[in-house]
């Protein structure tokens, strides 16, 4: 009963997106349009990690300008949530994840092939502008008097933090394991913690509300961001063109300006 209902729901969603699909197992009710004759789609749906919100929104505008009549719809969120949505049948064209692990759940499900790493993101220590605990290096975080926020290990920034700390051979007891990098950053911005490990891009995006401190061990825990077109993409052609834009020099410029590093 549950499967029938959810299948129906997906079918309705797919039908609503007004595109044919090449796969007949996912949505039998919506497979009226033959795959080969996919018409010039006017809508592109991109699922992207929350940390890409600013950069991808900008690239989306560029893309729309270059493809008149096309609109790019974004769904930003935690990479893991997005991956779950895709494996549960959400109609997306492009998936840009903040970690290879989350991309892997999509490729394992056969829903994407050949992901490409398009940027890397590095951790920094974020401290409030007045740096009350006088944090200067990763080692300072081990001081029990310093309140530290980390991302939970289940989310990419948390996994990266653990990798970096392991590489440095340090043990940090955080006061909190936040559900995502933005929440972690908020704790620093409000001065609730003395330091946190977040991405360099997040420090830059915070526009001065936190100060970033680079640390050498960060190189041991660089986060790869893979991007891929989805095999069931309703707008496969546009999807490929969008990925090309992200990988182009223009795309790189936008991304590096925001603090990402080229792969």
């Amino acid at each position: 009963m549950f499967r029938r209902v959810s299948g129906l729901l997906i079918a309705v969603l797919l039908a609503a997106s007004a595109c044919g699909t090449s796969d007949d197992t996912a949505a039998p009710a919506a497979s009226s349009a033959p795959a080969a004759s996919a018409p010039a789609a006017t809508e592109l749906t991109v699922f992207a990690a929350a940390s890409l919100t600013e950069t991808f929104t900008e690239l989306g505008k560029t893309f729309e300008a270059a493809h008149p009549g096309t609109t790019v719809k974004f769904n930003f969120g935690s990479s893991a949530t997005l991956a779950t949505q895709i494996t549960q049948g959400a109609p997306a064209d492009v998936f840009a994840a903040a970690s290879p692990a989350t991309m892997k759940t999509v490729t394992d499900a056969g829903l994407a092939t050949g992901p490409t790493v398009f940027v890397k993101n590095k951790l920094q220590i974020a401290v409030p502008p007045d740096n009350p605990a006088k944090v200067e290096s990763l080692k300072d975080l081990t001081d029990p008097k310093v309140k530290v926020a980390l991302c939970a290990e289940q989310v990419p920034c948390g996994a990266a933090a653990i990798k970096a700390l392991d590489a440095a051979g340090l043990k940090v007891t955080p006061v909190t394991l936040e559900q995502d990098v933005k929440a972690t950053l908020t704790k620093v911005e409000l001065g609730e913690v003395d330091a946190a490990l977040v991405y360099q891009t997040d420090v830059i995006a915070s526009a001065g509300k936190v100060t970033g401190i680079a640390f050498p061990e960060a190189d041991q825990a660089i986060n790869d961001y893979p991007i891929a077109t989805l095999t069931k993409a309703p707008a496969a052609d546009l999807a490929k063109q969008f990925v090309d834009l992200v990988l182009s020099q223009q795309g790189k410029d936008v991304l590096t300006k925001a603090g990402f590093q080229a792969p």
């Binding site: 009963m1 549950f2 499967r3 209902v5 959810s6 935690s78 893991a80 949530t81 779950t84 309140k147 926020a149 939970a152 289940q154 989310v155 955080p174 006061v175 909190t176 394991l177 936040e178 559900q179 929440a183 908020t186 704790k187 409000l190 001065g191 609730e192 913690v193």
Partner: protein, 268 residues
Amino acid sequence: MNDTDRSPVAGRLPWVLVLPAAIGLVFLVLPLVGLLVRAPWSTLWERLTEPQVLEALRLSLVTATLATVICMVLGVPLAWCLARLAFPGRRVVRALVTVPLVLPPVVGGVALLLALGRRGLVGQWLDSTFGITLPFTTAGVVVAEAFVAMPFLVISVEGALRAADLRFEEAAATLGATRWVVFRRVTLPLIAPGIVAGAVLCWARALGEFGATITFAGNFPGQTQTMPLAVYLALETEPEAAIVLSLVLLAVSVIILASLRDRWVNSP
């Protein structure tokens, strides 16, 4: 149609009511069915007995109960003032009480940080004077849950107070009872069902609290990681574990609420 079986006064079922009721019930229960269907039954027991799960469950039950106690201690008098005292701006106060209902919980959490956080309006003073900081502590979880759940109690109790027959209070006054005695020995027992209903709602809301808790109190196993937080984080990597945790939370709350209700109904 078997009309003879029907009691003569019952009449026809009013489909206008029964049909939407049935749809409403299905709407509420279907997601639960979804959880049950997808639950990894084979590994259920093993996952249940993981220390982290039990830890989160214990923390959830303790904090939700403490939050409910706080809501009752503060919320019942607040409801009494709203229902029984005529003061200027009462409507505004009543609207303010419902703020946590309208506020997205995460915003509520941020608001709590701004008020009670280490650098918050009051939190700053708490920290410098008493050395108390609420964020990232179990007490912080209780505060966040109480903040979000209190309106449920206040609204229920105020409704019960308004529905209660004021003349019982008058009768008590003619017998020499002061306002406090009237409240304690007459009003409270009379509105007890309303208080229980409010406390149940309040407790259930506190038990499921996520947004304000994770924002204000953070997430650390054994300290501040309640079941909803554990569920959310499990969802990131292991959706199946998240389903198990959700089922545990549901089962425990349903068992507790159902038994409470029975006890209440059966009491004389």
